[in-house]
Structures are given as structure tokens and as C-alpha cells.
Amino acid sequence: MGYTFTWDDLEQICCKLGMKRHGKSSIWKGVGPDGIMRTTTIHAKHKGLIGPGLVSKIAKEQLHFESVEEMYRFLKCK
């Protein structure tokens, strides 16, 4: 099943992971409740859906989820 994410979704995920935007930059970073130190880039100019290939890289390599599906569940869980 294909999961889609917008840049706003990604921002929400970062907030839930305890990450914060570094000043006025596009870099988000922080230490999650699991103790993992994460960094990602979110541009205000980027709108709409994130490409599926990039979603997979961001999920696994920047945000350290096991899979895109796990990141989707994390976003949807209250």
C-alpha cells in the first residue's frame, strides 16, 4: 500500500518527535523521546506531496523509522 505525505505532515511528525526548527533556517533537529538525535530539512517553499522515493529516504535515514508505514502510523496515532 502506498502512503502519501505532505510537507505539512512532515512538520507535524518532526514536532511529535521533539524536533524544532533551528532559528530561521529550514533545518529541523532534536532528540526524540527514544533518545535518537535527528535532523531533517523542511522548506517553507516546498508545497504539496513529497515524492515517494524521498519519503522513504526521509523516513528511514533522517527520522530513523523502520519503514514508511511506521512513520504513517506514528503520524496518525494521537
Partner: protein
């Protein structure tokens, strides 16, 4: 390899610098802070050469336009930095902006990024190469192996 304490190094800085230019590395210790790690004074050119020879950037096009996706996404394997755009050239430019911004944030917050448990610790030497370009687009295009646009 010569070990010097800070006071001695301060007094001989001009001659130490001159010798470092020839390739000698000086290791500085602070007698007042015995548990501090050591610091090396070494030729910048040699450090640049070390980085150039041992570190290369590699890329992957993780997205290309399809019916449901309109963007190109370029992914750098070594730093996990990406660029997106409606053309390959635009994605490369976006990547150049993103990596410069990341390098600047990284070096502003070294205690965070160089923490032993930060997985991005290994980005240090790659980002040092980006900073050494000092915003010069020609040098950045060369560093990443991008062909400048006509």
C-alpha cells in the same frame, strides 16, 4: 611528533606556523586542563587534500516525474541531504542551498552534531568541504561533480 603546551606554543606561534606549512603537525596540550583532548595544529592544505582524496559525494535520483508525482528528488548518500525541483537542474540548485544551510547549522552547533550518539557525526568532514568552498558556486559544482548549467 612534537608536543607543546599552550604557553610554549603562544610564544613560538610564528615559527610553529611556518613549520606546519612544511607539513609538520604540532600537538597542543593545556597543562591546566589535563583531561582535555589534544588539539593539532596542521596545514590546512594537507587537511584539504586528505578530504578531497578520501571523501567523495554520491547521488541518487530517488524521484522522477510520473503521473502522480511532478518532482525530481536528488538524494546525497553521505549526508542525507536532498534537493527537489521541477527539473534536474532545479533539484541540484535546491540541493546546493540545502547542503550549505545544513553545513552552516552543523558548525554553529558542533556539540550537538559531534555528540558520540549523534548518527550525523560522520557528516563532519563532508560538510567541512562544503564550508571550504565559501559559497563559491563554481567550487561547489566541482565538489559535487555537477556540470554547470549553460
Amino acid at each position: 611528533m612534537p608536543y607543546l603546551n599552550v604557553t610554549e606554543a603562544k610564544n613560538k606561534l610564528t615559527s610553529i606556523r611556518r613549520e606546519a606549512l612544511t607539513g609538520r603537525e604540532f600537538i597542543l596540550a593545556d597543562a591546566k586542563r589535563k583531561n582535555d583532548p589534544l588539539v593539532s595544529l596542521v596545514s590546512t592544505k594537507l587537511l584539504d587534500e586528505l578530504c578531497e582524496k578520501s571523501l567523495t559525494f554520491s547521488f541518487e535520483w530517488v524521484d522522477k516525474p510520473t503521473d502522480s508525482n511532478k518532482t525530481y528528488s536528488l538524494w546525497n548518500k553521505e549526508t542525507g541531504i536532498y534537493g527537489i525541483g521541477s527539473s534536474e537542474g532545479e533539484a541540484k540548485k535546491d540541493f546546493l542551498n540545502n547542503i550549505q544551510e545544513y553545513a552552516s547549522v552543523y558548525f554553529e552547533d558542533l556539540p550537538y552534531y559531534l555528540s558520540e550518539r549523534n548518527p550525523n557525526r560522520e557528516h563532519y568532514w563532508y560538510l567541512r568541504q562544503v564550508l571550504r568552498c565559501n559559497g563559491d558556486m563554481e567550487k561547489l559544482y566541482n565538489l559535487f561533480g555537477f556540470k554547470p548549467e549553460a
